[in-house]
Amino acid sequence: MGETARAYRVLLGSRVRSQTSYRTSFALDVLASLTAGVVEFAEVYVIFHNVPTLGGLDLTAAMLVFGLATLGFALGDLFAGHLDEVPTLIRLGTLDVLLLRPLPVLAQLMTGDVQLRRLGRASVGVAVAAIALARTDVDWTPARLALLAVTPVAGAVLFAALFLAAGAVQFWLVDGGEFTYAFTYGASYAASFSPAVLPLPVRALFSFVVPAAFTAYLPTLAILGHAGPPWLPGWLGWWVPAVAVAGWLVAAGLWRLGLRHYTGAGG
């Protein structure tokens, strides 16, 4: 056990050192990630500059949704975003090297390319959510505080599960890997505003098949005590931790299937 922990520590440590040793590049990368978050928020702000509410949310509630979604996505992206490089690993045969090592492939992949620059975007999420919380008048109960604390973690798990499921599908797709962008980056986009604006079938898709609504919108409804639109009652927000666990289990199952399907490129 100690040996295994040491192996991961060495892996992660090497990633951190390699990224921070070129300081200018690292600073620019963090700046780009931070700008990504700011630009995404600008998109939300541009809409609310013109209208007072969108999909039943005012600017403050929309900022809380955006902040939680961005934080959850950035953390999920940090640990699992690089899983969308699985097609490259398959094509280059790099995956075979990982299969030979005495550690689980998934754990190696997740720790093998942690990109610290993604913390830039996470900090935008934290800032926007903090401003929203300062502007809002919530009747704080211990349960609501707990939900607020657990939401970014659950959101990160859900986004990581989406990346994992997308990575698993690559074992069959290989060349059409970008199909999954619609559901990973699409989910990130869908999560950052109210699904009440979506037509019912699209709303159902981005809530119950691709659980984008669970990463920020539903917990926000639960915290603010809103009723929610048809098909998405606010009390569903309390189920976010359970949905995150279930989402991860489904994605992990898919990954196992995919890995079993993989036969290597010969040699």
Binding site: Y22, D29, A36, V39, E178, G186, Y189, L198
Partner: protein, 264 residues
């Protein structure tokens, strides 16, 4: 001239080799179109039917046409040149008897020519089937739109070329190219028409070539601008084409002066 043509054909062929990837891109654009169109419909509805010059029909058309323009205008990451600068392969490009900028421009126009139909038609079709798409019924917007699109691709190319040239000065071009993509996405009107922006941001956007890449062709093709308005938009595009062309050329001259090719 024939050599330049060969680069255009090569650009066309290179992208036509990855059909599944093109289909995947069109699919993703269509899904984002559904999300964006839903947002603008809700926004225009809440605003009372019109929002800064767009009613529901024109806002929906705008949301879908901008998704259709993503691939031809190449608004997302393009780092072909920067990667060749980093590996030194750019020396090979420079040794060719065709000007470097012309090689890449020709290849980029070839790329755009291939992707324009397979990447633009699927999202427009999905838009027409789901939200309904109010497209013009006369020929003029399409003719002017085709010219506007070609100008947009070329302006976009000049700017991407410029961002890629930073690789001559920086060890790692990634930060600059990523920042460029983000800024161009916001200011081009990709997310929402520039007229929806707060006044300050709109002024900033109008002082850049970015609205000429997305907003201009979108407004011309969807017929939101009348003929006179379209011609004015084309005029602004020609102006930016000239400015970005000269800037890219000046930067290239300075960059090649920095280049030291060893060995040989």
């Amino acid at each position: 001239m024939r050599a330049v043509g060969a680069f255009a054909v090569a650009g066309f062929r290179r992208y036509s080799a990855y059909r599944l990837s093109v289909a995947a891109g069109a699919f993703t654009n269509s899904v984002f179109g559904l999300l964006r169109a839903s947002i603008v419909v809700a926004a225009v509805g809440t605003a009372g039917g019109t929002l800064a010059g767009y009613d529901e029909r024109s806002a929906v058309a705008y949301a879908w046409i901008t998704q259709a323009l993503i691939a031809p205008v190449a608004i997302f990451t393009w780092n072909d040149l920067a990667l060749r600068v980093r590996t030194g392969d750019v020396a090979v490009d420079l040794a060719r008897p065709v000007d470097l900028q012309m090689q890449y421009l020709a290849a980029d126009l070839g790329r755009a020519a291939y992707v324009v139909l397979p990447r633009a038609l699927p999202p427009l079709l999905v838009g027409a089937l789901t939200f309904g798409l109010a497209m013009p019924t006369t020929a003029t917007p399409y003719l002017l739109g085709a010219v506007s699109l070609m100008l947009a691709v070329t302006i976009s190319f000049n700017c991407r070329f410029l961002a890629n040239l930073s690789a001559f000065w920086l060890v790692d071009h990634r930060g600059v190219v990523n920042l460029y993509v983000l800024v161009s996405n916001l200011l081009s009107g990709m997310f929402a028409p520039v007229t929806w922006f707060p006044a300050g941001l709109e002024t900033v956007a109008r002082l850049t070539p970015f609205p000429s890449m997305i907003q201009a062709p979108a407004d011309v093709i969807t017929g939101r601008l009348d003929t006179a308005g379209s011609l004015r938009a084309l005029g602004v595009q020609v102006l930016w084409l000239g400015i970005t062309l000269v800037l890219a050329r000046l930067a290239l001259v300075r960059a090649t002066r920095r280049l030291v090719v060893q060995g040989g």
